[in-house]
């Protein structure tokens, strides 16, 4: 049996490991454009100079040797041909498969504003190659404009602060981290970044950006007419699943690749996992999908059920935040807030159920909140302060000593 996996992110790596556990003899080939296995969540540490390429590797030691995986790196897939059961790489090589996993992730979305897509000093922050290019450009750059104040935009700024750059972050909405945080929690991070020298321009959009003779953008014009000088532009405006290589393959796609509960695509023996499915952009979910796809490629009948993806943790300047579920207040919500100088905690309750949790400063033992929210567990009968609810209220130990939730 020959298994081919496209992509060396967590979904691909997890699938490869799972396949090897099930099938000792099968041939496993991994193909990636990336030349180093790396965790995208740590690219800011590379930009900051805190870690080198090797320090971003999330796999165990000697991963490819240990699990007997043939890794073809630095090559892209140009075409997937389900009829022939083969894929064609950008070096012309054809690779046949019995089972194929598409785990080639997503690409940074660069909005069609001015000449952002054409300029040579405009980067997303998605791949190690982006971070490497940013570091190189930063050697001579002074001013950096970051478009977007989500987690990726702030990551980029956080890394570049270590290199002493002057950073301006432009955000369409009137506050930072608008998807993850409420105003109070967002302000705390805004102050920390501002104290470190970052300038925010909120409630504004980039409206014009023109390449100069050197092929670079040196000035971004905003909606209000303000002009921001820049030597580097980092665009953190989301990602789109990498579907280009699927053109003409007959593999059904919507926002991402369409998959069934077993992560099978519309074509036989082809599976998909991770960001390319558009199901979730969250690491643990991608890992879980990789595992399930791997099992099923070996004949298993696993289903992807733990689909909940409205969850994030944030850590900048030692201020940690956890947010799960809904952030925006709706009619009929009961909002509970607990605040002192070390922490800010906000819970959204509706009809006896927790629909959103935001914890800043202290996130100790907070994993139970995700379980409560995603399983819509009724907490109205628990005679405790809402902030004191914990696993003790749902506690069960099975005969093997593992915990189980009962409610």
């Amino acid at each position: 049996m020959k298994y081919v996996i496209i992509g060396a992110g967590i979904a691909g790596a997890q699938a490869a490991k799972t396949i090897r556990e099930k099938d000792n003899a099968g041939e496993i080939v991994m193909i990636s454009a990336d030349t180093h296995v790396h965790s995208r969540c740590m690219l800011h540490k590379f930009i900051a100079g805190e870690r080198d390429e090797k320090g971003l590797d999330f796999t165990e030691k000697d991963f490819f040797e240990k699990f007997n995986i043939d890794w073809k790196k630095g090559v892209r897939v140009e075409q997937v041909c389900p009829q022939q059961k083969e894929i064609i790489l950008d070096n012309g090589e054809k690779v046949g498969y019995d089972k194929l996993l598409l785990a080639n992730g997503a690409d940074s979305f660069i909005p069609p504003v001015g000449e952002l897509r054409k300029a040579s000093n405009v980067y997303g922050l998605r791949n190690l190659s982006d971070a490497q290019a940013i570091v190189k450009e930063a050697q001579t750059a002074e001013n950096v404009v970051v478009i977007g104040s989500g987690l990726v935009g702030l990551d980029a700024a956080y890394g570049l602060l270590e290199r002493g750059k002057k950073i301006t972050i432009v955000e369409m909405v009137d506050r930072i981290l608008p998807v993850q945080l409420d105003v109070h929690a967002a302000n705390a991070y805004q102050k920390l970044f501002e104290n470190a020298g970052v300038r925010f321009v909120l409630g504004q959009k980039a409206s014009e950006a023109v390449c100069e003779a050197d092929g670079k953008i040196h000035k971004i014009t905003l909606d209000n007419g303000e002009e921001l000088a820049c030597d580097i532009v980092i665009v953190a405006a989301g990602v789109r699943p990498s579907l280009a290589c699927l053109e003409g393959s007959g593999i059904q796609c919507d926002r991402g690749i369409t998959v069934d509960a077993g992560l099978k695509t519309s074509q036989p023996d082809i599976y998909a996992a991770g960001d390319i499915t558009g199901l979730s952009g969250i690491w643990p979910n991608a890992a879980n999908q990789g595992k399930i796809a791997g099992e099923n490629m070996c004949g298993g009948a696993e289903t992807y059920t733990d689909t909940y993806a409205i969850k994030n943790t944030i850590n900048f300047f030692g201020l940690v935040t956890l947010c799960v579920g809904r952030i925006q207040e709706e009619e009929g919500d009961q909002i509970q807030i607990k605040e002192d100088k070390t922490q800010y905690k906000r819970i959204i309750l509706k009809e006896g159920r927790v629909e959103g949790v935001l914890l800043q400063g202290d996130i100790s033992h907070a994993g139970t909140w995700q379980y409560l929210i995603k399983n819509k567990i009724d907490v109205s009968k628990i005679e405790k302060n809402i902030f004191d609810i914990n696993f003790a209220d749902f506690y069960h130990v099975d005969e093997k000593g593992q915990y189980e939730w009962v409610s």
């Binding site: 967590i10 965790s39 995208r40 969540c41 740590m42 540490k45 590797d57 999330f58 796999t59 165990e60 690491w283 643990p284 890992a287 879980n288 595992k291 969850k311 994030n312 943790t313 850590n315 030692g318 201020l319 940690v320 956890l322 799960v324 996130i363 100790s364 033992h365 907070a366 994993g367 139970t368 995700q370 379980y371 628990i382 005679e383 405790k384 914990n390 696993f391 003790a392 209220d393 506690y395 130990v397 093997k400 000593g401 593992q402 915990y403 939730w405």
Partner: protein, 148 residues
């Protein structure tokens, strides 16, 4: 694998297990008599919770068969050791993202109180011969090690 089994009805909430854990993982030398309980660096990896009825419920890392903390670890710092079955944590690889805190369905893991740059997690007292200090200190046999 060996797991710390829990008979919660025997727990009387004395918290000897928590003190033993703090003592086992303190950075300084010394005995339990000079263990500084007020030093935030001395954190216990276990915790005795109480439910709404006042019943004690010991919260100890299960070193789960399918550990959700490991699944969420984006740096490779958390891993399930194939030999012992225990979930270990390599602080030097940790990226301080705390997705493990978010993803443990039982709320076992927490960031360290002082630096907020690493997590506090049971290591089965592997550096003390793999005999968990908490178990040795329990006067009620509410926790005990068993091969599962």
């Amino acid at each position: 694998m060996k797991r710390i089994m829990i008979d919660y009805q025997k727990c009387d909430g004395c918290k000897n297990c928590s003190i033993a854990c703090m003592q086992a993982h303190r950075e300084t030398q010394g005995t339990v008599y000079d263990l500084d309980l007020t030093d935030p660096r001395n954190e216990s990896r276990n915790r005795i919770l109480k439910d709404a009825d006042g019943q004690y419920k010991p919260l100890f890392c299960r070193h789960c068969d399918d550990p959700k903390c490991v699944e969420s670890c984006m740096s490779g710092a958390l891993y399930k050791d194939p030999e012992s079955g225990h979930v270990f944590y390599d602080e030097t690889r940790c990226g301080s993202c705390f997705m493990c805190v978010m993803n443990c369905p039982f709320g076992v893991i927490k960031p360290d109180a002082v630096t907020k740059s690493k997590v506090v997690k049971c290591d089965f007292c592997v550096n003390a011969g793999g005999e968990p200090s908490c178990v040795a200190s329990c006067p009620k046999q509410a926790i005990y090690v068993e091969e599962v």
